[in-house]
Symmetry: C2
Subunit: 323 residues, 2 copies
Amino acid sequence: MAVYTHLGSERLAELIAAYDVGRLVSAKGIAEGISNSNWLIETTGRDGTGARYVLTMYERRIDTDELPFFLGLLDHLAAKGCAVPATIHDTHGAGYREIDGKAVALIEFLPGVSPSKPTPVQARSAGAALADIHLAGMDFARSRPNPLTPDHSAKVLFRFAPDRLRRLDPRLAAIADVADDIAREATQDLPRSIIHTDLFPDNVLMLGDTVSGLIDFYFAAEGAMAYDLAVTHAAWSFDQSGDAFEPAIGRALVDGYESVRRLDPDERDSLPILAQAGCLRFVASRTEDWFDTPADALVRRKDPMEFVRRLEFYRDRRQKAFP
Amino acid sequence: MAVYTHLGSERLAELIAAYDVGRLVSAKGIAEGISNSNWLIETTGRDGTGARYVLTMYERRIDTDELPFFLGLLDHLAAKGCAVPATIHDTHGAGYREIDGKAVALIEFLPGVSPSKPTPVQARSAGAALADIHLAGMDFARSRPNPLTPDHSAKVLFRFAPDRLRRLDPRLAAIADVADDIAREATQDLPRSIIHTDLFPDNVLMLGDTVSGLIDFYFAAEGAMAYDLAVTHAAWSFDQSGDAFEPAIGRALVDGYESVRRLDPDERDSLPILAQAGCLRFVASRTEDWFDTPADALVRRKDPMEFVRRLEFYRDRRQKAFP
């Protein structure tokens, strides 16, 4: 949540002039994005009736070589009618520009707010929107292998001595112990497309019960579509305060997904192990952050145990998770 | 620059429903305000054509008892045609509401961007807009004494041992030494109104060369109008990088001001000492912050010497400053 770079209004106006979007009217740094700076931009619009955009400056983490994949994907999905923001190209056709050595992209602004307590009806819409991008992504010409495979998660956890994990929580050490098995079991030959891999409710904009936008595609990659559904299931189906599974949310997500794209029997059978693999990814990244972030840092560390408990749930109650 | 409080979209929608502004469409935490959290809010609007607002949550510093002054002032000035955002009242007529014990206010959104390198034409517009609020503020019914008088600044500086100031910079200690004299000299019987007292370029929104909004009135108070002009002069008339005085900016500010409200001879003669008093205020607050903020804190400390140098300029070059 930050704006890392100060961009004076004169620089912003100059940048906006490189696009066919009218003149700069307003610019507000917005508190979104972990490794990007973002501004909500208003312009007079092509036709003078006003238009809004999000300007993203890529501060770190994202390799500029990957921008054509991420920005091209938005264009591809938006052109096929998916609820994703399109990339605005400059008057020379470029999808991103550079300022002070940093890449910046102008992206369509979409209305909507992210539900903090999604209802089953909202979950159903989100499931359907996920299936939409899976179908639309199948013929996207660019490719990006997923760096965050279950294998990778297992390797991350192996970096930490079992004793160290045990001191944080014995159940974390127990998961690290079987991470290899989960990774092996989860690696299956299932139908693939471009997948979002990070569709937490934060990344879904809604107007009432309708999805108005899926956002933050910077973890998108090729992968098993059922894995993406399982990750979304793990991200949505537990209540905020504790870890209580909310069966109505989980069911609505899968139902909504299947209202657009039917899962085949192999995919369906794999959901419990894929959900464990999804949880394993967040366990790994949060464990890494936990040990790498000083306890007194201003950044709040996310507790890795949250997804340890969800992983255990998918392992021990697979029938309840996916009835 | 922060959003201190998380407000879920459901809470926000509930809050917005208390106003006659249509339904919530979008909400983005914006990176503005030092002691407030702010969201840029979009709604369907009263007539369904869309409307935008800034939602401010008062986190600290501001005494809730003072909100009727600040919010009522915006209403008063906006009603008189000044370029300030009006306060939106809820369906019961209240200017602010409470959430979790914190006051929140919904305020009109104004277009425009703050110039980071103002031009003389822009300075002229800002000067005129300042005079507009002075004239319009004269019959505002509420009052608020200014807590940040020159006397107060002198007292703040006296809290620090001269040796401590000298170690930071001998010129800072020299200013502290004469702070009392500046305060005494600057306290004069001049025409008064409600004054902004903090009109840095950051707090002026412009569309091209036209002022579209003066914002951030949370230092507004009763005071000498010429003092407000002098503070604005000190805030605008020096180049960003260094301390070079920009005579064209200073002259344009005063000319613009006088195009709306003529200064009387006493006010004109007082500008150099009032500008010194204005600088003294920022010297005092920045010195306080400097000693109270650890050098390794994430918050960037503003250098008190910047306004020491400007104060010296107004003292030593009064003819050049106000020809």
